[in-house]
């Protein structure tokens, strides 16, 4: 059901772990729904110097986290913000329809981490466009 790319990123996830003195940390998801994603960012000169993650979730959730952190490393914060879930899915060479929400979660985790960084640095948080997907799909 998963592409080889997904399986590779699940079996050998990149960037697993914490960044102790992270500049921004974002946690999204809900354990009740079976997935929580936390992304840690190290940001210098408006560039994502490092990104790490911890994820409780299915194969797609882990692979999405792994891919998302790979995608944003080295980017400007603005570019990182613009990393869409679609970019994650494409980089993973596809996800099963029912797992698309994992990629959305990854996008949201990046946003949350960046906003955390912004708040810590006295900037306004950027408003999220997405609703919480779990609300929509009625996971209790």
């Amino acid at each position: 059901m998963y592409s080889e790319k997904v399986m590779d990123h699940f079996m050998n996830p990149r960037n697993v772990g914490e960044i102790k003195d992270a500049d921004g940390v974002g946690t999204v998801g809900n354990p009740v729904c079976g997935d929580i994603m936390r992304i840690y960012l190290k940001i210098e000169d408006n560039i994502i110097k490092d990104a790490k993650f911890k994820t409780f979730g299915c194969g797609a959730a882990v692979a999405s986290s792994s891919m998302a952190t790979e995608l944003i490393k080295g980017k400007t914060v603005d570019d990182a913000w613009g990393t869409s879930n679609k970019a994650v899915v494409e980089a993973l060479e596809g996800l099963p329809p029912i797992k698309i929400h994992c990629s959305v979660l990854a996008e949201q985790a990046i946003h949350a981490a960046i906003n955390d960084y912004r708040i810590k640095h006295g900037m306004e948080p950027i408003k999220e466009e997405h609703k919480d997907i779990h609300d929509e799909e009625r996971c209790e």
């Binding site: 699940f10 946690t27 929580i36 194969g59 996971c139």
Partner: protein, 399 residues
């Protein structure tokens, strides 16, 4: 393909080669339609009746009380809808449990949309129904009680004879979904006062796509599939002769080896459970003793089930999970929720079901892998991180 350690025998079993051998001639040589009158047909007719006798023998029923179907789901749907519509004049109330298979639950939901009322009995932390709850649920409109013999996820064996006795006293039809029980638990429909019983061949080393419904003589039930006069006019369709022959052979084998099968699997099961319980923050789901001989169902906290399945699959181990992710929905197993697990813990369940081809080596192999995989996934889990930081101490799975 590399090494395969198959521990998903509750999902399905391989067809035993003895069973396939019995089936083969009925595809290419003995292919006559049993309803016809020539010799080629008489021999398939006879083969079906022989299978019917074998099923009857293992269940303690009469052969003319056995009706062949396409599997457990059909048998369950036939019972629910067939009894409901044939006995509408007596009442519109059905009692079942919260932990039934979806074939029963979704048929009940369908009936609820069509004027029937259904009581879903709760279960305790082990998955057992409470007989007092049950008795209180009975009304004078109750026409059918459907309580599964053994649960497919957590393996809990329900007090079927007791339920049967109560139904008999009240004159209410009693159906049990014994899809997981047949071949794994001794069953006697007469002694246990069962009026209808569903079974499916592929759960006991027979072929997929064939099952049976035991219907006690005299029970009033509509057909689900109308048409030709097959199965005494109660279930139409050209008989799946090879499948029925396979079902007969498989149930015969299961009946013959029941005792040794149970003894061997119970030992392996308990060894596997014992080994797993050494992993911290793990919990056995279901009843420790009133449990299918091959069923192991555990929760590893802070871990999501599908991830565990993928890691196991990478090492050739086939298992399953009540995790939402593996079932195509976002909600975790209704059974795990019914026994009181919080959803986040239910997501971390792992079911390993052992069978006749499982060896002690297989169990050791899996016990060698699990601690590593649990550690790996926990190291990646933000829930575990928080838990360690907060210094929580005990693994209490109940809310």
């Amino acid at each position: 393909m590399g090494k395969i350690v198959y521990m998903d025998n509750s999902a399905t079993t391989p067809t035993k080669s003895e069973v396939l051998e019995e089936m083969k001639p009925y595809f290419t040589e003995k292919y006559g339609n049993p309803s016809s009158i020539y010799s080629l047909a008489r021999e398939t007719k006879a083969a079906i009746e022989k299978s019917r006798e074998k099923v009857a023998k293992v269940l303690g029923a009469n052969p003319d009380e056995i009706y062949f179907t396409a599997g457990g789901s059909e048998s369950d749907n036939w019972t629910l809808k067939g009894i409901a519509y044939a006995n509408q004049n007596k009442g519109n109330h059905i009692i079942t449990t919260k932990i039934e298979h979806h074939a029963v639950l979704h048929a009940c939901e369908y009936l609820e949309k069509h004027g029937f009322e259904v009581t879903y009995l709760p279960v305790d932390e082990y998955g057992l129904i409470n007989l007092d709850d049950f008795k209180k649920a009975i009304t004078d409109k109750t026409i059918l009680v459907s309580v599964m013999f053994a649960n497919n996820e957590i393996g809990t064996i329900e007090p079927i004879a007791e339920v049967g006795k109560i139904c008999k006293d009240k004159g209410i039809y009693f159906h049990t979904d014994a899809v997981q029980a047949v071949g794994n638990v001794p069953i006697n429909v007469k002694k246990m006062n069962i009026d209808l019983l569903s079974l499916s061949a592929h759960k006991f080393y027979g072929p997929k796509g064939v099952g049976a419904l035991y219907i006690k003589k005299g029970v009033k039930i509509n057909p689900l599939i109308h048409g030709g006069g097959q199965e005494g006019g109660r279930r139409a369709g050209t008989e799946n002769v090879p499948g029925i022959v396979g079902l007969g052979k498989a149930i015969e084998l299961a009946g013959e080896s029941m005792d040794s099968h149970i003894e061997r699997l119970t030992k392996l099961r308990d060894k596997l459970i014992g080994g797993i319980m050494k992993i911290p923050y793990s919990k056995l789901n279901g009843h420790p003793v009133k449990r299918l001989p091959g069923n192991v169902n555990v929760c590893f906290r802070f871990i999501e089930g599908e991830s565990m399945l993928l890691l196991l699959d990478g090492m050739g181990v086939c298992g399953s999970s009540g995790s939402a992710c593996s079932s195509g929905s976002l909600d975790p197993s209704h059974v795990l929720l019914a026994i009181g697990l919080p959803p986040e813990i239910a997501h971390g369940s792992l079911r390993l079901t052992l069978g006749d081809f499982t060896t002690e080596e297989d169990v050791d192999y899996v016990l060698g892998l699990l601690p590593k995989f649990v550690k790996r996934l926990r190291d990646m889990s933000p829930l575990y991180e928080e838990f360690i930081k907060k210094g929580e101490e005990s693994c209490t799975a109940k809310k």
